[in-house]
Amino acid sequence: MEGRLEIVIVMLTLVSLAFILELVRRRQLREKYALLWLAVGAVAVVLVLARPVLDRLSLFLGITYGPTTLFLFAILFLLAIVGHLSWEVSRLEGETRHLAEEIALLKARPPTNEPSEDDAPGRPHAAPER
């Protein structure tokens, strides 16, 4: 019983790692994120194979039930990632908006009727109403 659970978990972790590597290979995932997830996988494997490490850490933190330590760190870690992704999405949205505005400026379309001279977009410094 001892060994079987560990084997299953290590296998799952290895499959995840392979999946990440495959994504990187196909250039679907930026290396910086790949590194992050590879590190997570490595930590998972270590914790599975070296149960005493987790237990000792729990004892040190004053936690009596080992897995709680694992959940604590897992949740903190995921929160950090979600926070980081929110930040990235905000940044990307800002960039996308800028691009959309630039496109609108590039695609400026002149009036279709009676293009009088002060409507011509090629004539700056008309300084309206001043």
Partner: protein
């Protein structure tokens, strides 16, 4: 400059009205409309800046301001595409810009008997009070989208314009205040909107009011922590 989203019913009258009053070209920023707004505006004699997707009023306004700055214009009048602003009043905004040495003129709708529901009036009063306190000028209608901007305001807003709904009006005033711009208010005549629908229902208005209060609060924090 007219930010417009699906205003096919009214855009023609707005553009023609503005063209008959102002010597300057009329620019319609089409904020991802799915109707014929863009074509109708061009047929009415406006230059159209077509945004590829909907950015919200703030994004549309920033685009229009960019256009003005790129083409060397020194002032811009902004009015809504739904026809609630009387184009002939644009002249009075520009006059105020000149005579009062203001960088920005806001057209207030209240003097002309602008009728709104009570909860909306309370919210607008509150916003006006908060914003007036920061600006040091008395404003009654901080969410009015009928505005004129001078060169200093254009330079500022081309760089930094708030993008969220309603921020385009209220937060822009705060940014102007921080930059030391002079903002004045002028009473303008209002129409009922000729087309389109009011841009928010009650629930989302409440949400946006809350967000604006947060914005005003954050703004005061930022100013305190920023370089003196």
């Amino acid at each position: 400059m007219v930010p417009a989203l699906n205003e096919a019913e009214s855009i023609r009258a707005v553009v023609e009205g503005a063209r008959s009053v102002l010597a300057a070209p009329v620019v319609v920023v089409d904020d991802g409309s799915t109707d014929a707004t863009s074509d109708l505006a061009r047929a009415a004699g406006a230059t159209v800046l077509p945004l590829p997707f909907n950015l919200g009023v703030g994004g549309a306004i920033r685009t229009g301001i960019h256009y003005a700055v790129d083409h060397g214009y020194r002032c811009v009048v902004q009015l809504d595409g739904d026809g609630q602003h009387e184009p002939s009043e644009a002249k009075r905004l520009l006059e105020a810009l000149e005579h009062e040495q203001a960088d920005m003129v806001v057209g207030s709708r209240f003097a002309a008997g602008y009728a709104v529901s009570w909860h909306r009036r309370v919210a607008m009063r509150w916003l006006s009070w908060l914003v007036s306190r920061r600006l040091g000028t008395r404003l009654t209608d901080t969410t009015s989208g009928f505005r004129a901007m001078g060169p200093r305001a254009l330079d500022l807003f081309a760089r930094d314009y708030p993008l969220d709904y309603l921020s385009d009006t209220v937060e822009a005033l705060l940014i102007a205040a921080d930059a030391g711009l002079r903002v004045v208010e002028v009473d303008v005549v209002m129409h009922n909107r000729q087309g389109g629908r009011p841009s928010a229902n009650r629930l989302s208005s409440a949400f946006h009011l809350t967000r604006l209060l947060l914005v005003i609060f954050l703004h005061s924090l930022r100013r305190r922590s920023g370089p003196a």
